[in-house]
Amino acid sequence: MSEPILLQVKDVSVDLVRGGKATPVLRNVSFDLIERQALGIIGESGSGKTVLSRAVIGAIDPPLVFTSGKVIYRGRELIGESRSEIESIRGREIGYIGNNPGSALDPTIPVGHQIVEKLRAVEPGISKAEAQSRTIRMMKAVRLPRPDERFHEFPFQFSGGMMQRALIVDALVTNPTFLIADNVTQPLDVTIAAQIIRLMHELREDFRTAIIFVSSSLAVVREIADDIIVLNNGEIVERSTPAKIISAPSVEYTKQLLSQIPRIWETEEKFVPEDAVRDEKVILRVEDVYKTYRVKDPKQFFGYNDVEAVRGVTFDVHAGENFGIVGESGCGKSTLSRLLSWVEAPERGTIWYEDADLSNMRRRDIIALRRRFQLLLQDPYNALPPHMAVGRTIAEPLIIHGGMKSKEIRDRVRAVMVEVGLSDSLYGDLLVGLSAGQRQRINLARALVLEPQLLILDETLSALDQVEQSRLLETFERLQQEHGFTYIFISHDLAMVRRACTRIAVMYLGKVVELADNHSVFFDPGHPYTRALLSAVPTIEERRYNADECLLEGEPPSPIGIPPGCSFMARCPLAMEHCVQEEPALEARKRGVSACFRANASDQELIDAAYENKELRDRLFGE
């Protein structure tokens, strides 16, 4: 028994027409979609996958032009239909969710009202009351907390994950035959993205909707798709099931794609014996550091809210280490990086650089100290002044600190450029046209020019693609061998941290919840959050941790008014009474430390605890 065909894409070609020239974006793309099927489309940026996802609903407008082919939905041709015809199909029978949850809705109207607006626009007969109740019902189904209140809230009051759920409601509220999800998890944190994917899985079952899931990450797509299409340069190069593609790709391009995906579990790791680490001197010591921001409270007369960004962080960084700090949005790592580089001062606690207590020093001394530790910022485009030439940008720190003649400065800049792998000819060029990788190298050169000993890399590699990342990491390594640098990597990218770091600290809601060497963090995590994180990371290897067991629903609590007890408790499969009352401190384990009462529990105890946890039981066995 074969399922009826929903969508037929036949030989579709689309061109981009600019200034009289036509560049092909899609070439002869053909595929079918059957009812209730989940089809994944993967491709790198520039492969045409977004254009394809729009072509499928007839949303191709100038400067994009259809040059050939048909898109047939349930027997009707979508290309060439009148605008109002397409509009009525779109939204009602075909749902679309994009990759910009924050800006998909009108910011001045409450979210629920906009969903009702859409519902009534595509299903004219429905009454306001009925539309509202249907919407709220769906909001419950996607597990949006307090749907009756949320209905009247505005887009800016929704976090990214919550908004994506709301947009899923918007797409599914008309019970469409199929859904297009275009890069929906890209802007989200790892655990939130995993939750969304799980949600879409379940909804697909409940609503019998087909899905076209577009993404640039094979690891993400394989979680949800029955079939995967690989797109390269506008052409379909391979189509198969996820298992087959991963184990036996047939085309060279797919093989290449696979080889670039970083391996988390099966990779060579950076291992340094614990004692060796301890023997090196401490280059940076962070002791019980706190940072709270005051934000105006709009609901009160003259009130303020306290945002607790960093709540008591302590750790040491030894010379020669690669120290990693990981966490998702809101964990406090950005604030911590500002504290570490002394852009802002902590309100409690101290930071020592070697033997110098930063809070007791005068501005002038701190500036002098900056020669020894440098901060590298994330955004390669915004971190460099756009109107300065390369050489001048790199020379800036030397100019500011003074004391060198211009010829000396020039020579030093040139030398550093060579060291980081920048071509000498770029010295006088402006930043136009330089790639992200080159820009980061300029950033690096600027930091190195003062001969620092410690470099703090705050999401420095996040904006780069895999290939560039590898290259830059190699450069980091080489420089470390030559100069004996110490690195602190602050990132959300677990794969990168796995490759580059010797010791890793995991942050959650302003605290360090786990700190151990690389191997232990990944293979023997002591904190449930670490486990949840590891279970959510997209990977094409065999999963070591099961998201169903480790990752529960929910988001981190707001940093305003943090309730007592463990802040992970609401989402923890091992939560118990004690966790509500008291916040766990960092407890020593075999290797490393973890802030959990069950840090040293035996495996059997863990299984029992999980069993007791109701939600987990429901998920695994019930409903």
Binding site: M163, P187, D189, D379, N382, I400
Partner: protein
Amino acid sequence: MATKDLTAVESTKKRGVSTTRRMFQLAWRMRGFQFGLGTFLVLVLAAIILPEVTDLSATKINVRARFTPPFFMEGGTLAHLAGTDQLGRDLLLRSLIGLRNALGIGVASVFLMFILGCTLGIISGYWGRWVDTILMRVTDAQLSVPLIVLAITILGVTRPSAGTIIAVLVLAGWPIYARVVRSVALAEREREYVRGAKILGASDIRIMLIMIAPNILPPIAFVAVLDVARMMIFEALFGFIGIGIQPPTPTFGNIISDGTKYIINNWWIPTMPGLLLIIALLSINVMGSALERARNKIFAGVI
């Protein structure tokens, strides 16, 4: 809270050439801009050269030629293209001299208010705190006083000179520049590279001059151009009411106001000078508007 923002990265890909330069480049290509610029240059040249070259006079009385209509009407001659006034003076010539004065005052006042406003704006936006609060209140207060009232109050007393007129205009016009530049400074202050520079130890003055100042032009370049036209209108208005540069120096204001009483039978006397002024203003305004569109396009494309 759980949303990473990569769009900023994507969007600034094309930055590198200064946005100011690109803005001007884009405007240069617009037809409106070219047209406006061309007309403007013709007028300026005429205003500078013609009065020196011709032997007609702008101030000498020539009774025989009084009330000559413009050349396209009956009774008009080519010798007096725009006609003559009640004292036989050539209107075109007088208008061109008026244009000289108007342009001089317009450009000078905008130049000065630009410098004053921008400096205060950068300092206020970058340093913030009490300096900022004071500036905001002062600009608020300033903006509530209509220019006219201020102008008449001050100029209505003494014999107004170019200097005092410019001073009044600068006094009334600087707040806009301060406000706009202040918001640019506020935005730039949060940029990564400014943060980076501060980490490196750059002093505040250095940051203001090198990092922020080059970025302030796009939002106000066109305002400055449009303000030249605006100030020229004010200059003419002042003259009309009687508080501008006094006769016998011809200014648009006093030419038109003198001619008002003759408007019924010799309509061209106050009207033609006005037309010349309008053409000049139109050319400037078209240039300014083109600049504004260029800037909007660049920011829309980038952001």
